[in-house]
Amino acid sequence: MAQTQLAVLFTSTALIIIGLYSAIFIDNIIKKIIGISFIEEGVNLFIVAIGYKSGGIVPILMPGMDASWFSSNSAYPLPFGLVLTSIVIGASTLAVMLAFVMVLYKRYGTLSTKVMLADTSKKEEYDE
């Protein structure tokens, strides 16, 4: 395995671990959401690293290239196609979560997760 690919795998692991850490330990809801979006970025980086080929070329078949030379030298393009979709999904999920946060901020006046997303089952169950 090439050195670059190994380093990329370490980077993606670091991003995933940062995300999981922030999911538990960070209290501010916006930071928590950003932290969780790092998990998604780490996974995307990992999947791109699968397709990478050390010393290869970009998987675009230019006119004049030999097809068999191309197929043995280009990077594997399938993971790249998957990551495109995944990036867009991650961005839209983040946008929806931030929209929820904006609405809930008006109700609570704070960004603390402990206050905003606490246990609500007791509060509503028996209101005299």
Binding site: T4, A7, V8, F10, T11, A14, L15, I18, S22, I26, N28, I30, K31, I34, G35, S37, F38, E41, N44, L45, V48, A49, G51, Y52, K53, G56, I57, V58, P59, I60, S74, A75, F80, V83, L84, I87, V88, A91, L94, A95, L98, A99, V101, M102, Y105, L111
Partner: protein, 77 residues
């Protein structure tokens, strides 16, 4: 060599984004991380992914976060 620098930038700016007290700085540092990731994708032979990531990660997501911060509060307390 550039790729290792980029990886360090990605991880460092992700960590720095999460320890800022000012949420606007968090938004900017997230954009840093996303932009560096886009360049890294280009180095990893995925130009199409790099284009999408450059738009989404370096522009759209920081703007969303900045908008959310503007509508709520700026300091982390």
């Amino acid at each position: 060599m550039l790729d290792f620098v980029l990886m360090i930038i990605i991880v460092l700016s992700a960590i720095l984004a999460l320890i800022q007290k000012d949420l606007l700085k968090t938004a900017i540092l997230t954009g840093f991380s996303g932009g560096a990731l886009a360049v890294l994708f280009q180095i990893l032979l995925a130009p199409d992914v790099a284009l999408t990531q450059a738009i989404v990660g370096a522009a759209i997501i920081p703007i969303f976060i900045a908008l959310a911060v503007k509508k709520t509060q700026r300091s982390d307390s």
